[in-house]
Symmetry: C2
Subunit: 343 residues, 2 copies
């Protein structure tokens, strides 16, 4: 016997397949005795139902999926746990699916929706710019979570929850200006970025403007393409170049904590110190920003809250309690040891 099926179990038990199915799926219409008997035989024979067959037949499953772009991002770790927890509370199950950098998340979503008979989807990370036509192929509700929305998107179609990357980035830059810094370098995304990278960069620009600080393009340093984006290594490489360029600056704002960590390292290696020689700030509020030495001033995103609200909205969508919702959470500026007033 190659692989054992529900039929085999039925035969072994001397019952019909329906009865076996009922035993497996906890259906009510079955006597406790036969159920136990069947379960016993199943266990003895190590029978495992084939999921493909189940999904194919089932019209609906209590399942949602979380599609993550950039699973590397430690920021998502905290959220993932909340997603699973909250989903379980609703008696649903939650499947995690990573999406490659160069994969189209909607394609993945469409495929998965059919394959798993999903009830809803969370898109996590990355950016979002898809034609309405494409979105229409997705027949189930979805929520965008911590996704940088740079273009005007249709409020009625999309639901999302995130922080205001532009505003929070403004806040950080404003803070640095408030400390007296005027030459503030930034490690940002490439100029072609259409996501949080762009928003954070624009917040920086805006704050400089409000403080009447002349914008210096030489202080804008983009992450390197050939190194993993938003990584410590990238921050390190970029900061080394900045330092070597001889361009003067007193503060360095990295648009992610990991970049900031790399930046600090480069500064130390140049024989300088943080914050005495350079103030350094990050973004996200990763654990490491607290544990680093010095602790890094950052914008702390309320990851748990965002995750919780994402699930809440998704289920409201599923249960048709809402048509679309948008929630922007305030993030918190954590002033720590890596920044200080300019003397």
């Amino acid at each position: 016997m190659d692989t054992i099926t529900i039929k085999d179990i039925a035969n072994l038990c001397g019952v019909g397949v329906t009865t076996v199915s009922r035993a497996i799926n906890n259906h009510p219409d079955i006597s406790e005795d036969t159920k136990q008997m069947i379960l016993q035989v199943i266990k003895e024979n190590h029978y495992v139902p084939n999921n493909s067959a189940r999904n194919l037949k089932r019209s609906a499953s209590k399942t949602i999926a979380v599609l993550i772009k950039g699973i590397t991002n430690p920021f998502f770790n905290r959220m993932l746990q909340v997603f699973e927890q909250e989903t379980q509370k609703k008696k649903y199950s939650c499947i995690l699916q990573r999406v490659d950098e160069n994969q189209d998340e909607i394609d993945v979503a469409i495929e998965l929706e059919k394959e798993k008979r999903l009830k809803g989807i969370v898109f996590l990370g990355g950016y979002f710019s898809h034609s309405k036509e494409k979105l229409d192929q997705l027949t189930i509700p979805f929520v965008l979570s911590t996704i940088g929305l740079t273009q005007e998107v249709d409020q009625d179609v999309y639901s999302w929850v995130s922080v205001d990357d532009f505003q929070e980035s403004y806040k950080m830059t404003d803070y640095l200006c408030g400390l007296g810094h005027k030459k503030i370098a930034i490690i940002s995304a490439g100029m072609d970025d259409e996501s949080i990278g762009k928003l954070r960069y624009e917040g920086y620009r805006k704050a400089l403007e409000h403080h009447g600080i002349k914008f210096n393009p030489n202080l804008v340093r983009c992450m390197k393409d050939d190194i993993e984006s938003y990584s410590m290594e990238n921050g390190y490489a970029v900061t080394r170049e900045l330092l070597q360029s001889g361009e003067e600056f007193t503060a360095l704002y990295a648009i992610s904590d990991s970049l900031a960590v790399g930046a600090c390292k480069a500064i130390f290696e140049a024989g300088k110190s943080v914050p005495e020689d350079y103030s350094v700030a990050g973004f996200d509020g990763l654990d490491i920003s607290f544990y680093y030495n010095p602790s890094i001033t950052t914008i702390r995103q309320p990851a748990e809250k965002i995750a919780k609200e994402t699930i809440r909205i998704l289920f409201d969508l599923i249960h048709k309690k809402t048509a679309s919702e948008h929630r922007i959470f305030a993030a918190q500026l954590m002033a720590r040891d890596s920044t200080k007033p300019l003397k």
Copy 2:
């Protein structure tokens, strides 16, 4: 029309479903013209084949799966990329499946094997102690990658690749002893750990013994159960307690880099410094160990090599070129700024 199927496409094209299937799957027995025509119709109608149906029917698929226990671990990130890369080279696809801390990875594997018609499996992380009977339900080859094997396991049944956690941990402890340290604290796993935690702890014990250093149980500090294991936060909490206990020590060996980072923070907060007051060492060779300030002395596991070799062995297993293989890679002691000779 609710959801569009292969039949609909066949009707639309005025051909049989077989022909459509052939077009989708690049089968040879189809004229280029009809194929293009069908593909066109498919595109226009946004038809996406149902994976469940495919998997159900397909006898074999060129797919392997990587089951990860503890996806949080940044150490795995580097490996994951290699897994995908190498799999693609073989024209296979690779699916990632996280396994919950309290889930049985074999159960997940068995289910997935059937559902996806897998060709092979990589088990990543965690520990491994399953009955032969259970393993036998897995009919496809698998490789254990960076899994702590504490018990004697059947060499002929399992294939694995990892570092020698015992030996490498010995190496680190030996190094600290060589620096003149005699009071070496360790942050280790719980005493019930049966995985790398145990192995690394035992390497520590052995090295102390060889150096004729009397073992002091008060210097053994286990991670806290109520905090994520191997996390910075855990290292921080444990080290605070250690510091407050008043127990004297000159070096602290944490069995992971993240723990070491947390430990350093606790030391700084106590007004002490690293390595002047305490030498601190980690394990794994995460990026952060290099970028931290001070850079952290660690054991660098050759993650890429391990990952590559894992895939190589798995495919050799799949192609029956080998019955079982075992590969232990040497890890590298990276002596950095967080440790110094005892004066």
